[in-house]
Symmetry: C2
Subunit: 222 residues, 2 copies
DNA sequence: GTCTATACGGCGATAGAC
DNA sequence: GTCTATCGCCGTATAGAC
């Protein structure tokens, strides 16, 4: 058995780590995000994974299944944290900075994921359903409806206190997500308009991390 | 001459209006938004325009030039109004509802434009530059930099008054645009999560038209 | 200007050796 | 499991008649 492990094949110069299936997934992840599903080429994925094109079909049968697998991975990671935090029992003053910080961290590491997900969603309506039950699975069964009603309950209570202005959970969440995700989805545009390079954009996001929670909570103040 | 007008050719059953070039542009507009640039097929555009495939090449040489023309049209229309309003001399309390209202109107009529534009921007970095000088051309030469500095000046003045909290023009505009555009870019997702049909989404946007200006201006209050 | 017909290449997918 | 070789379609682009 030790012999089997030692007998690993030689690999393409670039990515000698992990088994083939994993390397294919990682390569597909990169290429689908770079080119979009329609623009991606099986050959480019194979090259980037350091394997032959035929092997992609061995593991994933055809391009559409591979694309679906990647979409699930990426979309799940982008929208997972929202539900998680929204369901917690922390006060709004804790939740909002927490979500903002977590999102900006995560998206800084994968800045092109939002653009990819939104693009796919537009061209493949069926992915909508696919995404929401991917989310439900991640949360161990918390449906979007449950998340929204839990949040609405918390908001109503604060309204009754007189400590925030009335707002629906739908509008609350939409606003919060918009403010976090859109700047990444529109990153190339913002960089162009504000004349930012890579470092400038990072600085802009850092400023946002400080400014956004205050902006958002302020908007709720009665 | 009257004879020439009367001698119009018979056309495909569906779109008998306008000259061929215009019909091709309109068809391309629809198809590129539906499928994305990479997913769009010249044949589908030709069918939708009621002309032959070869005619597309007669007018636009190749697919990439047609795609560029459409991108410019759509992207320009999505982002044009911002600069226009930001440059005006109205008070913030006028500008914000005005931008929100105008955007929500326009996007309600073309709800898939934002998703298309963001998707293209991600896959074709060169389109970033293309877009910003398309915008400059529309404004008759008002560069993004000019728009931002004009807005910053207005904000600084209000800060000095003590009538709003300090905020940079970049963050101000990013927030405003995010809140207006993102819900459309993510329309399929929001409809899924909130269990909305077409009418439900329209109602959601109508609610937003009322709620958003107040939310935004409230956030600026000192 | 608009059509029909066709050339050409690229890409997804499979067959089959190792 | 992984590779080489190849098939067959589909999509862009062009040639040329009308």
């Amino acid at each position: 058995m030790a012999r089997k492990v030692a007998a690993k094949k030689k690999r393409a110069a670039s990515p000698p780590d992990g088994d083939a299936e994993q390397r294919i997934l990682d390569a597909a992840h990169a290429v689908f995000i770079r080119r979009g599903t329609a623009g991606a080429r099986m050959q480019e994925i194979a090259d980037e994974a350091g394997v032959n094109k035929a092997l992609l079909h061995y593991y994933f049968r055809d391009k559409s299944r591979l694309a679906a697998a990647i979409f699930q991975r990426v979309a799940g990671s982008v929208f997972a944290r929202i539900a998680e935090v929204a369901l917690s029992d922390a006060a709004l003053e804790e939740k909002v900075p927490h979500i903002v910080g977590a999102y900006l961290d995560q998206l800084s590491r994968a800045p092109y994921a939002p653009g990819y997900v939104l693009g796919e969603l537009n061209h493949h309506p069926e992915r909508g359903k696919q995404l929401i039950d991917a989310l439900a699975r991640r949360q161990g069964g918390a449906t979007p409806r449950a998340v929204l009603s839990r949040l609405q309950q918390q908001l109503d209570q604060r309204v009754a206190n007189g400590t925030i202005k009335p707002i629906s959970a739908q509008q609350f969440l939409t606003n919060l997500i918009s403010l976090c995700i859109f700047p990444f989805a529109a990153k190339p545009l913002l960089c162009g308009v504000m004349e930012l390079d890579e470092a400038g954009f990072a600085a802009f996001i850092e400023e946002r991390r400080r400014v956004l929670p205050e902006f958002f909570l302020n908007a709720l103040r009665p």
